[in-house]
Symmetry: C2
Subunit: 214 residues, 2 copies
Amino acid sequence: MAQQERAVRTRRAVLEAAATVFAEHGYTAATVADILKTAGVTKGALYFHFDSKEALAKGVLELQTDMALPEQEIKLQELIDVAMSVAHRLVHEPLLRAGARLSADPMGRRHYGSAWPLWVDVLTDILTVAHQRGETLAHVVPREVAELVVSSFNGVQLYAQLETDLEDVEYRVSVLLKHLLPSIASAPVLMRLDVAPDRGARILREAVQVPVPA
Amino acid sequence: MAQQERAVRTRRAVLEAAATVFAEHGYTAATVADILKTAGVTKGALYFHFDSKEALAKGVLELQTDMALPEQEIKLQELIDVAMSVAHRLVHEPLLRAGARLSADPMGRRHYGSAWPLWVDVLTDILTVAHQRGETLAHVVPREVAELVVSSFNGVQLYAQLETDLEDVEYRVSVLLKHLLPSIASAPVLMRLDVAPDRGARILREAVQVPVPA
């Protein structure tokens, strides 16, 4: 294994371990010692990549939007696909749960930031193209709707996390989208959108993961 | 002042102080000593009403839904009025900010509970009557929509809290309701609803506060 490839793997392993600890304990209660133990790497290897708990949290947040989903004929379907695939990944990946928890922590803004602006950018880009293609209703302002989807999604996932331990998060996000989309999409587009609760699982099977940059 | 009246006032003052401290620092970092200092009552007076930090948090949560808003001709308007008046009160009252923060804290479920089930009950009751009166679309399931509104509202208020220090929370909640209601209300009802950002301020001016039980 080339040295650079090994470094990339170590960095990823450390971030996965950090995510597991942040998702379970939150930022304040998490310690670098816990993360070291979970990652199974040396202290030197960890500090080579990340010089603080803050840097670890930032690294976890940067990975949140790092995924490539297949393009869709209807651009608005891609907004649904982002939301439903994140809902699915929340159930299965500590990385996404950590991102949600870190971003919702009032402590975060002073220390490491938030993934919300990244998600708002992803959805604004999709909505801007959808708007240009005439898929959205006339009154839709891409950034405003993007912030609405990110913020309401976050409330729904937090509710599912605390009330049902994420068991029904995909169903709840599907209900949210079913209620929001009639005031976003034009009628002919609306009826062709797939917002089924299992959409995330299906689309992720098709997706190709973007390699983590070194 | 009668002894009972004094006890009611002391209890309320302690809970307002607890709310201020919880809203600012969160449950874990808050201490009973901070709350004592903020309340300006004796240790004995505080412990007469609340024997622990847990009991203080529970007391704050119980007060969240304790408000009487004027009845409306269209029942669905009352759902909007609850949401918009809470949005308005979040800006002005630590009591509501504490309720939101305590309810969203993953620690909470083990220690003091959450205000979310109280809000879901309030909205389910309104939606059930609205449904019986034919104001809602046929597919609306009152409890499901109530949970959707509570969870998405919570996401929007948290977003406003962390991104703009609540400056635009009333506008954001208004945008949320404008996007959700077309898939909840029948068309003739929809066009008669008032979801303006200043609805909360206006309705609270009419409202009569329910006295806190002793």
